[in-house]
């Protein structure tokens, strides 16, 4: 087996050699008052709940009369799904006890705006589809979703990245616990409108994936009509390499996590392909694959290996699967600090609900599990030969039966290399098995709602209010004098509208104004220091400052005074700073300086000291530069040190 390259060591050539292809599905909640298919308000998430509902999900037959792989898997897990309901955020629609209401028009308009920003071709009639989810994350068992546009693009990575489609859909529940045979969800997020933008698998390196994610985020935020904050935007990352298959890494909460996740997935697929290659070399094929399943509780009654001992003490059973010819396959490294054994353990955890780890061990493990005498007994009893491996699993009797079957399935799957699956992103940049990737049959039309025509009038109305894209804005800002880096920052700032509003009406230096808005006003706003802030009052302040020739660097202090002191009229505040430009006030300042005791220190330090005193005398509302000039004047005149 080849060595796995570390993330820091890999470059574009390595990924090209792997044939890495990656695409994104970005889910972004829209800033609407109400949910997508009912009139529940969208509120802050809460841990409070007033009632619980219990449901089960049952697979429905697919086209060919077969149960879809995912569906069957979810059914095998036999989960009780518990929904926690808060009276304020959930009605009978979300609980699947009332049919849907009409699609939220506010959400439709925002989504159409984003569809246009992504240069997608718009459909003329919206058809709601049901996309099946059997994990329970949506109580109906399907998500209502619709396509608004196809075949768009976004400029990124120095080229156009294709957008396959833009969909409008309802958000799912938040999972809070999944233990044993019970999975619990909070339902406050359920039904919130979101758009899903799906890119083509056009990204060739992990960093490109993150860049495109960032570009897409900026673009949708340009509307000013999307939700921000934790969980408001979530990324699914699709990864495949040459010879591998598409694997979806689900729900990546933060863009900076993306590159490492993509890197690790690419190398996980490479390792799985090498395992398949090795098994082929050993002559193991779908036809010759062979394994045997056993109950071995009775020969391990007195084991000291604590997970198994605990299980027996709790009335559980021990099962074993002997896989012929699989010696030394389970210890093959598939992710950092992770071996192929983990792929099997994950399946046992998810499908058989044996989630107390470790849940399996095997005869090739180097770790301390069963004693060598016990291993010998296990091998004898199960007929595990030199070239085989024995995988041992423990827990509730029924779950162990599901587990041994699942171990066989996963071992057999290793012959084909990579399996289409959905994996969850873990904080360390690795991933864990979540479920088999659903097949194409899980989409079907929603018969509860009629089609909805998107009229030319609606399109025109939205086109007229379409915001410029961050790229267009950047060019605009460069034109009015911002240097490129600053122009980019401004183009993606939430507060760029403040800049746009004042820059055209105030005769200030745009670059200085941009810095002040991005570096001073933005943090002050975020920290809540400018509670009474409004664009209009800000503009008035700037105009007053212009009139009084107050330099811009006095602005922040001035604004804080103005917008948090209860003083509402900028003219009144500024009139208190007559010092500047007004001879009388200048004399008063000089008188104040004269009244001070002059310490015996060197000239530069004295100037700083006096300037500081003067600025604080005026409550911080004097620009330092201007105060300095007055102090210079004072020192030249009164102290004869000039």
């Amino acid at each position: 087996m080849s060595k796995m390259k570390k993330f820091e060591e890999a470059d574009a050539d390595d990924y090209a050699a792997l044939g890495l292809k990656s695409g994104l599905e970005i889910h972004q909640q829209l800033l609407t008052d109400k949910k997508l298919f009912c009139r529940c308000p969208v509120r802050e998430y809460t841990d409070e709940y007033d009632a619980e509902i219990l449901r089960h999900m049952r697979p429905t037959l697919s086209e060919l009369g077969e149960y879809d792989g995912t569906a069957l898997m979810e059914f095998k897990t036999r989960k009780d799904i518990i929904y926690r309901i808060d009276d304020q955020t959930v009605c009978t629609y979300e609980m699947d006890d009332t049919p849907p209401f009409e699609l939220n028009r506010q959400a439709l308009d925002i989504a159409l705006e984003i569809t246009m920003l992504l240069n997608c071709k718009l459909v003329s009639e919206v058809h709601i589809a049901r996309k099946q989810y059997l994990d329970g994350s949506i109580p109906t068992g399907f998500q209502r979703t619709t396509i608004l546009g196809v075949d768009g693009s976004i400029p990124a990575c120095g080229r156009d990245i294709g957008i396959i489609q833009l969909g409008l859909e309802e958000d799912a529940c938040r999972e809070i616990r999944d233990r044993g045979h019970t999975r619990t969800y909070r339902t406050d997020r359920l039904g919130i409108p979101l758009v899903e933008s799906v890119t083509r698998p056009d990204m060739k390196t992990p960093r490109e994936v993150a860049e495109v994610a960032q570009r897409l985020r900026w673009l949708v935020r340009a509307t000013g009509k999307v939700r921000t904050g934790i969980g408001a935007a979530r990324q699914d990352v699709n990864v495949s390499i040459e010879g591998g298959r598409r694997v979806e890494i689900k729900g990546v909460p933060r863009i900076p996590m993306i590159p490492l996740l993509v890197h690790n997935e690419a190398y996980r697929q490479k390792a799985l392909l090498e395992i398949a290659e090795e098994l082929k070399r050993r002559g193991i094929t779908g036809k010759t694959f062979s394994c045997s399943k056993h109950r071995i509780t009775d020969i391990l009654k007195n084991t000291q290996y604590s997970p198994a001992a605990k299980s027996i003490a709790g009335g559980g059973e021990i099962g074993a699967v002997v896989i012929k010819g699989y010696r030394d396959i389970l210890p093959v490294k598939t992710q950092p600090e992770t071996t192929f054994a983990r792929e099997i353990s994950d399946r046992v955890r998810v499908i058989a609900c044996l989630d107390q780890l470790p849940n399996i061990t095997h005869s090739d493990t180097g770790g301390e599990t069963f004693s060598s005498a016990e291993w010998k007994r296990i091998k004898n009893k199960t007929g595990c030969a030199e070239k085989d491996v024995a995988v041992v699993v423990w827990g509730d009797s029924t779950d162990v039966e599901t587990a041994v079957n699942e171990i066989e399935i996963r071992a057999r799957e290793s012959l084909t290399g990579v399996i289409n699956e959905t994996r969850q992103a873990l904080p360390d940049g690795t991933t864990g098995f979540e479920r088999i990737l659903p097949g194409p049959d899980r989409m079907y039309p929603d018969t509860d709602l009629p089609p909805l025509a998107i009229t030319e009038e609606r399109i025109e109305r939205i086109r007229e209010i379409l915001p410029p894209t961050p790229d267009q804005l950047e060019q605009e800002y460069i034109k009015i004098g911002l240097r490129p880096g600053l122009a980019r920052r401004m183009s993606i700032s939430n507060n760029r509208q403040i800049f746009d509003f004042v820059s055209s009406t105030v005769n200030s230096h745009n670059e200085e104004l941009a810095f002040i808005i991005l570096d001073r006003i933005t943090p002050a706003l975020q920290e809540g220091r400018l509670s009474g802030f409004s664009r209009e009052r800000f503009r008035k302040t700037l105009l007053e400052m212009d009139r009084h020739k107050i330099p811009l660097d006095a602005l922040t202090g001035l604004l804080e005074k103005l917008f948090s002191s209860g003083e509402t009229d900028p003219v009144a505040v500024i009139s208190k700073i007559q010092l500047l430009g007004d001879k009388k006030e200048e004399d008063r300042a000089l008188d104040y300086l004269k009244s001070l005791e002059i310490p015996d220190i060197d000239r530069d330090k004295l100037k700083d000291h006096l300037t500081g005193s003067l600025v604080s005398h005026y409550g911080g509302m004097v620009p330092g530069k201007r105060a300095g000039e007055i102090v210079e004047q004072f020192m030249a005149k009164e102290l004869k040190t000039g």
Partner: protein, 461 residues
């Protein structure tokens, strides 16, 4: 060219498809002023407008394209879909009871045509075994489709036919009967069957679903399993409705056919026993009787089928300011029976009195029930009640209005003699009139009240 070729299309949409020779199921590339789209042309819903062509794209989504935007359609091939429910032979086991499932048209089990969204009912034993294999653990199942009508189109013809069929099956020694039925009028059918089929030796269980079985969250499979289990194994030889107890997937309730009513337009737990408590709880692992006064299974008992029905009966739901011409028009149109759903204890306004008097004098049988649903008619409490009785209106105790309606149809099918009809109406056959209302027969918890909220927070809804 038959109507299937351009199924559902008409007007502009039909002309457009014809002009490009692109019938439904064509795999096409459509150029439009809004861009190019690829997919398969789907049949259009007959109720939708004429302006759009429906395309199933390769990602599984459907979209509509406005005919006016289409500049060309290029046909690449054809992908017609044919659907059939997979059949697996229903296993038989001589040690298991035999159950007959009669279908009336409700889609208790079905699968979905994924391309058109149409629901295909699963009904034959093989089809049912394909979708609800658990049934084979319970019984040997045989099925017969009696009718294919929506619940609201059930009527005397279907009721009489079903009662007759039940009689036949019982004669042939069946161990239990399940009747699949749409939920909207299931309680009407349950009530009339309770009168038409008396002294059944075996359980007769009506069942439906509030969420169609093409949905993963459907209640259909669990309801069907519970109903079949009740028919096959239980000791309740009555006409019952078996539907979800709570909205959670926890247990089903067995309701007596004459006291059950659909109480919510869409909830799973929509069926409630009114003015009494249900017969039993049914779960995967068995039955929990909630009362003891039920008819036991007894194969020696002879069933009586009384398929009488006179359809010249109406329900009048009284409202303030109702005019007497409503009653007059029923008299003039030859109605023989009127069930009034009166206010409170059973009242109507004074202006109706002369017309009601006329009705009774002309031999029309008028019975009073209450639109409060819970509680008895009691016409002695107020003078007005006594006045109404003096007109000839007969109080019908705590019979539910719909139950009184079907019972009067049934009674008038047997006699028009005032006393005989009153005797049939007021002698309880299957719990439609009870001697007493238990204190917990009326429990409509009021949300928001602290102790109710506390209860809800402890028990799954």
């Amino acid at each position: 060219m038959n109507s299937e070729t351009y199924k559902g299309y008409s007007g502009k949409g039909l002309e457009c498809l014809k002009s490009y020779s692109a019938p439904v199921w064509s795999d096409v590339e459509i150029e439009s002023t809004r861009g190019n789209f690829r997919g398969i042309i789907l049949p259009r819903s007959e109720t939708a407008d004429n302006d759009h062509i429906v395309l199933k794209m390769h990602n599984g989504y459907n979209v509509g394209l406005n005919v006016d935007t289409i500049t060309s359609i290029n046909t690449l091939g054809k992908k017609e879909a044919h659907y059939k429910i997979p059949e697996k032979e229903f296993p038989t086991d001589p040690s298991k009871p035999n159950v007959k499932l009669l279908g009336t048209g409700g889609t208790i089990a079905s699968r979905l045509d994924y391309r058109t969204g149409a629901v295909i009912p699963a009904f034959s034993p093989g089809e049912l075994y394909g979708s609800v294999p658990e049934l084979a653990d319970i019984c040997n199942l045989d099925t017969e489709k009696l009718y294919g009508v929506f619940s609201e189109n059930m009527g005397p013809e279907q009721w009489i036919g079903t009662a007759g069929k039940i009689g036949e099956e019982i004669e042939n020694g069946i161990d239990g009967i399940v009747i699949g039925h749409g939920t909207d009028t299931m309680h009407h059918t349950a009530a009339i069957l309770s009168f038409m089929v008396q002294d059944s030796p075996v359980p007769i269980v009506m069942v439906g679903s509030q969420r169609s079985s093409d949905r993963p969250s459907s209640d259909a499979a669990i309801n069907l399993i519970n109903a079949t289990k009740t028919a096959a194994e239980s000791d309740f030889a009555e006409i019952m409705v078996c539907m979800f107890g709570p909205t959670s997937d926890q247990y089903g309730l067995l309701h007596r056919g004459t006291r059950v009513r659909k109480m919510h337009s869409s909830y799973r737990s929509t069926f409630r026993t009114i003015g009494d408590i249900p017969l039993a709880i049914v779960r995967e692992d068995g039955f929990q009787p909630l009362r003891d006064d039920y008819r036991r299974r007894d194969s020696s008992r002879k069933v009586r089928i009384i398929p009488a029905f006179d359809e010249r009966v109406s329900i009048v739901y009284y409202y303030p300011n109702m005019k007497p011409d409503i009653i007059d028009s029923l008299i003039d149109n030859g109605y023989k029976g009127i069930i009034i759903a009166g206010t409170g204890l059973g009242h109507v306004n004074k202006p109706l009195y002369p017309s009601l008097k006329r009705a009774c004098n002309e031999g029309i049988h008028v019975y009073m029930t209450v639109q409060t649903l819970w509680g008895y008619v009691q016409m002695y409490v107020y003078d007005t009640g006594r006045d109404i009785m003096d007109l000839g209106v007969i109080p019908a105790a705590n019979m539910l209005p719909e139950v009184a309606y079907v019972k009067l149809c049934w009674a008038l099918g047997q006699s028009h003699d005032r006393e005989e009809v009153a005797d049939l109406m007021l002698t309880p056959v299957a719990g439609e009139i009870t001697e007493r209302e238990p204190h917990n027969g009326y429990l409509i918890y009021q949300g928001g009240i602290p102790e109710v909220e506390e209860f809800i927070s402890k028990y799954k809804k």
